[in-house]
Amino acid sequence: MAPARAREASAAGPLVATRRKRRYTLLTRHDKIIIALMVGVPLTLDLLLIWGPTLASVALSFTNWQNIGPITGKNFVGFKNYQFLFTGYTLFWPAFLHNLIWLAWLTLIATPLGMFFAVLLDREMRGARIYQSVFFLPVVLSLVVVGFIWDLQFAPTDGFINNVLGTSHSANVIDWLGNPRINLFSLLIATSWRHIGYIMILYLAGLKSVDPSLREAARVDGATEVQTFFRVVLPVMAPINVIIVVVTAIEALRAFDIAFIINQGKNGLELLSILIYNNSISEASLVGFGSAIAVILLLISLVPIVAFLSRVMRTLA
């Protein structure tokens, strides 16, 4: 690399050739200032509005600040917020569990289904493009709209499901979105409607990038389609599989909109993200306490984020 550049630089004229040692040989002072600005401005904004608040959340989680007056030494309470979170706050463990169920559902049911659809559609077949478009359609809808659309299915007396099951007028009407024992799963069905298409499209792109000769070879060697998939395609797809799992985990941790739309995340739909909002912004201004929940969510999120970065940055480097 270096000799090639040096050659090119000297070909350009003696002026640049004198500075051939540095990588930036061709850049003038002016250029360097422009580069600094082009990276510096977005980076400053990113640090101020994303990473600054992230660190501030961590710091605030050790205080009892309530958004009134300045923060002084007296506000520092050590791990008290966390202590109360784990032992005294009745909504924390349910919310934690709901996030866990969300994650498990997406990872074990919705994501594999999306991958399954991708595998089915990844072949010469009449209508494959139409099927693909249909499965993908919900992905462009906002979760607010998804919530509204599914409310029409799940509503207790007017909803489609209860009317078909004949449980809309009887005394034991099924309240799909109101009953705290089942509403999380109703919500997960609605969420999956969107998630499956998303995963399908990501996975389909991955499948299309698999060298067709690999499959050809497996077929010639007498492998069945199922064998070919599990023994040949899946191992080749390892990088995509990691990304799919990470995307799924991040989606699960981010869940907020649809639960909030249905009932503000109450009564069986508590999620960590919603507890942060309710405690620190909407219902109370317990900044320190809400931040402690945010830190827990942050720590969990770091697992998929680090996994993603370590996978992806290798290729960007």
């Binding site: 992230t54 010639v220 909002y277 940055m313």
Partner: protein, 315 residues
């Protein structure tokens, strides 16, 4: 590989394909059933939105349209809930949001992929990781920042009862269009930078180097050389970013307080109970709100899918 295929016994190959045929039928049947299942919730919403409310009160929602179908619900939502006004709210947030995001992200991606310097990997990681954080992790301090950052009030652009403040009508970032635009731009720049860097990596550095030799400055190379080369990626990102910002609910919920400033997606939630008082109207409102992204999807499906997969499959 083709040699092997050519020498493989023809009969065996033909037999294999014939054996697959009944499986194909099952596959098609399964997929058609799934497609029906996928479309049903949408179909049901459309059906409910087309039925007059009185009809559904008498016969229930699960009934044939004895009194016919009409667009009266759409008409009511459109005028009473002022849907065009909320479309405009979305428009003034999303258009600058997408353009600014693409400009900033392409600058960072350009500098980090076309020049090698010490920190470019760290910078890319900061942007990428920042976008992967759940927004709720940063919301508490961000909310404080928005309530405590002074912004100039230099009047406004008024169109009818719609007013776009320059830059803030309460001297804060909070409850302002520019505040929402700002957080969208900063948050999505992380994602766009990641995808665009992936794309720009494939552009050889020699293009930039020879342009430098020819005496072009860095800014001109970015604008006149690299951006035109990235047109497909930029189109894909624009489509995707439009949908992301259009569909946002959380930022608008927290960082706007006046209902009159809410973009259509989050306004929908406010309108429920006030104007969207029955399922028929709710269905009509929800469907009106998702027409723009569906149009984008229908006409720009290729770009949309490319945008989603650019980030994941180049790895």
């Amino acid at each position: 590989m083709s040699v092997i295929v050519a020498t493989a016994p023809r009969a065996a190959v033909r037999k294999a394909s014939r054996r697959v045929k009944p499986a194909r039928v099952i596959l098609q049947a399964f997929l058609i059933a799934m497609v029906a299942l996928w479309l049903f919730p949408l179909f049901w919403a459309v059906y409910a939105s087309l039925r007059p409310y009185g009809d559904t009160v008498i016969h229930g929602y699960l009934s044939w349209p004895t009194n016919g179908l009409s667009l009266v619900n759409y008409q009511n939502v459109w005028t009473q809930a002022e849907i065009p006004y909320y479309y405009l709210n979305t428009l003034v947030i999303v258009v600058p949001g997408v353009i600014l995001t693409l400009l900033l992200a392409s600058m960072v991606a350009f500098c980090c992929t076309q020049f090698s310097w010490k920190f470019n990997l760290i910078v890319l990681m900061l942007f990428t990781a920042g976008n992967l954080l759940p927004p709720q992790v940063i919301i508490v301090p961000l909310y404080w920042i928005y309530l405590n950052t002074p912004i100039a009030n230099l009047g406004s652009i008024d169109i009818g009862n719609f007013s776009f403040a320059i830059f803030s009508d309460n001297n804060l970032l909070y409850d302002q269009y520019i505040g929402i635009i700002l957080i969208h731009v900063v948050f999505q720049t992380g994602f766009a930078t990641f995808v665009l860097s992936n794309y720009m990596k494939t552009i050889t550095k020699e293009i930039t180097e020879s342009a430098l030799v020819d005496g072009a400055n860095v800014f001109r190379i970015w604008w006149n050389v690299i951006l035109p080369l990235c047109r497909p990626a930029l189109a894909a990102m624009a489509t995707l970013l439009f949908t992301f910002m259009y569909n946002d609910f959380f930022w608008a919920l927290v960082l706007l307080s006046h209902g009159s400033k809410r973009p259509i997606t989050s306004a929908l939630n406010n309108l429920q109970g006030e104007f969207l008082i029955n399922n028929n109207l709710i269905a009509a409102g929800a469907l009106l709100a998702c027409i723009p992204p569906i149009l984008v999807y229908i006409f720009l499906q290729r770009q949309f899918v490319a945008g989603l997969t650019l980030g994941s499959t180049k790895g």
